[in-house]
């Protein structure tokens, strides 16, 4: 392969973080006072040490350094290449190193060792609306945000009308952004980002904003970007989006590349391994669980009618999806919520908790399991991704939302008593209900 065809070349990149900020406990008042007096010196050493790790290398591991318990290898020896025009997805569990990799490629942070080359102008979108200022008008923020994302003033001048039109906030473009609704702000910000024209684009979950409509608009825009021959690196937890947008996907685990290949294969390998969102996900470590001030998610599970945890469901049988969560503060009305998407990223349906016991009733602290029953002969064959969400009402506050928390496959064993009947070819459609058919026959005509 010609080296000019390579847009991104990553060679043996490693990144080390130091997290050694553990607070010491004192067992006596005297010790506490003594330590308080000594603390400026100790703090100085501690904060100073945070950036000293030039001497450690990823392969020799912990031996070369005295107190290695406080260091974390966010990336270990990552290497890959991306061809010009390729759209590559990066997936992996939280903490697998995805964001660190993007931050290194965006030059926000430096690798501890190894190096990377990016050919062509790079824009990275790790967030929508970086640098937006409440007091400035929409127009001023477009310029500010545009230049922050790497455009020249001249480029913003040229694209200004297009940006404003795409965002749909023409009428308020000279109003301070603080008077915008949050939706308008996001639309304007995304619209600036969508008009970047870098050769290499690095995107981190920016689609995790806005409503479903807007997310779809963003996905379409990204698809366009991919088709314009730009190189795109796309980090996401949204498996349907990854399969739809990227022809190739890299799976990271524990700071290493463990799969690299065509997206459907890698995504399915991820989902079937215990790394990805399988039929059951649990958060044994409360610290790492998705949580809001009132509730914390502890587990999501898919079960068959007889209660077995499964990732494969017969199309004819009912199944249940449950979320286990802790309520941390008493007295709030909760609204558990599941959303299902298929492989194409189409929303199949959204369902909210209607259980009359707790509906509109403030809940005491404790552990809850909310289960929804999905009848047989409703879902179409294929993989379904479950988003699990919980709101507190009045006011509406999102406590947690875990996209693609679990996934399961709906299969049809072709026994003839499903909605397929005797039809064996591909059957499109989001749902596949078993419907009654009647036929009228008139032999005389």
């Amino acid at each position: 392969m010609n080296s000019r065809d390579i847009a991104i070349k990553v060679e043996n990149i490693s990144k080390l973080y130091r997290i050694g900020l553990k607070e010491n406990m004192h067992d006596s008042f005297g010790a506490a006072i003594f330590s308080f007096i000594k603390s400026p010196l100790r703090n100085y050493r501690k904060y100073r040490s945070l950036y000293k790790f030039d001497d450690i290398n990823p392969n020799s591991g912990s031996k070369s350094h005295s107190n290695s318990s406080d260091i974390i290898w966010a990336l270990r020896d990552i290497s890959f290449q991306v061809k010009r025009g390729e759209v590559v997805g990066i997936i992996g569990r939280n903490g697998a190193g995805k964001s660190t990799l993007l931050r290194i490629l965006s030059r926000i942070t430096n690798p501890t060792s190894g190096h990377a080359e990016i050919r062509g102008g790079v824009s990275s979108l790790l967030e929508v609306g970086t640098g937006f200022h409440q007091e400035l008008t929409g127009r001023e923020n477009v310029y500010l945000n545009g230049t922050i994302l790497g455009m020249k003033k001249k480029e913003v001048d040229q694209k200004f009308d297009e940006i404003v039109e795409f965002s749909g906030v023409e009428k308020f473009i000279d109003t301070p952004v603080k008077r915008y609704s949050s939706g308008m702000k996001v639309r304007l910000a995304f619209s600036v980002a969508a008009h970047l024209e870098p050769e290499v684009l690095i995107i981190d979950e920016v689609l995790a904003v806005g409503d479903a409509d807007f997310q779809n608009k963003c996905l379409n825009k990204m698809q366009d970007i991919g088709q314009q021959g730009r190189t795109v690196l796309f980090v996401s937890h949204n498996m349907p989006a990854v399969t739809r947008l990227c022809e190739r996907t890299i799976l990271l685990h524990d700071g290493r590349v463990i799969e690299d290949g065509p997206s459907p294969q890698v995504v399915s390998a991820y989902l079937h391994s215990d790394l990805g969102s399988t039929a059951a996900r649990e958060w044994p470590d409360a610290e790492k669980a998705p949580a809001g001030p009132v509730a914390r998610l502890r587990a999501v599970r898919v079960r068959t009618e007889d209660g077995r945890i499964t990732d494969t469901v017969d199309i004819r049988r009912q199944l249940s999806i449950e979320m286990e969560y802790e309520v941390l503060k008493s007295g709030q009305v909760l609204l558990p919520h599941f959303g299902l998407r298929n492989e194409q990223g189409t929303s199949v349906f959204v369902t909210v908790d209607l259980d009359p016991t707790w509906r509109q009733h403030p809940r005491p602290k404790g552990r809850y399991v909310s289960t929804v029953w999905i009848p047989g002969n409703l879902l179409a064959e294929g993989t379904l991704f479950v988003t699990c969400k919980l709101l507190t009402l009045n006011p509406n506050v999102l406590q947690f939302r875990e996209r693609s928390a679990v996934a399961f496959h709906v299969i049809d064993s072709l026994d003839g008593d499903s909605a397929r009947g005797d039809f064996v070819k591909t059957m499109p459609g989001v749902v596949r209900p078993l419907l009654d058919w009647t036929t009228q026959y008139d032999s005389d005509s």
């Binding site: 945070l50 965006s106 790079v122 967030e127 500010l144």
Partner: protein
């Protein structure tokens, strides 16, 4: 894609940075539009939703001048080498206001911009320099006070006035040097934020703002003048009021200022690579 554009394609190389590196001026130039918009944002946002708007840039130093004139001029009757106290303190307080504000704000620039720091790359040096430049607008506006005082006392301009840009440069360099040092330090040690208010106050009394430099004994003059703020203040006085240019007070400070600027740039560059990891 044609040949020529292929050759021009920039290549970004990402690798561990060594600690000591000089300032990448080419890169700074590359980002000048962003620099411009950030400075402009700081200026615009400062007086947003205020009734008086930019009048604050005049009002703040003006009130300080009046207070100092009453306390130090009328009550304490500090010697001013024969210059009316109000004139004497105006030409000092306005550059001092600039320097104290620029230093305070740029020392906090990385902390207040830490969100942006973690989300997008541009030369980090832009953060402290933005504050230093944005404050120049206030300085420019508050020069009106000096102009008013000079007209009122009918001070005749002399050739010294030609040196005015030199002292503006010196003043900006000192602020930038201190800003680079402190902003890089503040990201690791938040102590800077708490120490800043009284450090600034102390600095004010180390410079001849409310009193005259000539009240410092001759023997200590060199040591005293190593404080670059002394040179700036005395320099402005000589420029604007036409008194003889006190070079012995200015030279030592210029050297300190240059050292401050260079060492600040080095220190900033050295710390730059770990900013994001330490926030």
């Amino acid at each position: 894609m044609n040949k020529s554009s292929e050759i021009n394609t920039p290549i970004n190389i990402i690798k561990p940075r060594s600690g000591w590196q000089i300032i990448d001026f080419k890169e700074l130039k590359e980002y000048r539009d962003l620099f411009y918009f950030l400075v402009w944002r700081d200026v615009k946002v400062l007086y947003a939703q205020t009734i008086l708007g930019f009048s604050w840039a005049i009002l703040q130093p003006l009130i300080q001048v009046l207070i100092f004139t009453i306390v130090f001029g009328k009550v304490a009757k500090l010697p001013t080498d024969g210059i009316p106290y109000i004139l004497f303190s105006t030409v000092a307080i306005i550059p001092w206001t600039y320097m104290s504000q620029a230093m305070t704000q740029s020392s906090q620039s990385l902390i207040s911009g830490q969100h942006m720091l973690g989300k997008v790359y541009f030369p980090r040096l832009i953060f402290p320099l933005t504050s230093v430049l944005a404050k120049l607008v206030d300085f420019g506006i508050s020069m009106l006070i000096i102009l008013g005082a000079i007209l009122y006392y009918r001070v005749v301009p002399t050739w010294n006035l030609l040196l005015f840009p030199l002292f503006v440069m010196l003043m900006v360099s000192i602020s930038a040097g201190v800003g680079m040092w402190l902003s890089a330090m503040a990201i690791r040690f938040r102590d800077v934020k708490h120490a800043m208010p009284f450090a600034v106050r102390m600095l004010m009394y180390t410079a001849p703002i409310v009193y005259s430099a000539s009240s410092i004994p001759e023997t200590y003059r060199i040591i005293y003048s190593l404080n670059p703020i002394v040179g700036v203040i005395e320099g402005y006085r000589a420029c604007l009021l036409g008194t003889p240019m006190p070079w012995p007070y200015i030279w030592p400070g210029m050297i300190t200022a240059a050292l401050l600027l260079i060492s600040g740039a080095f220190y900033f560059k050295r710390m730059e690579r770990v900013f994001v990891d330490v926030i």
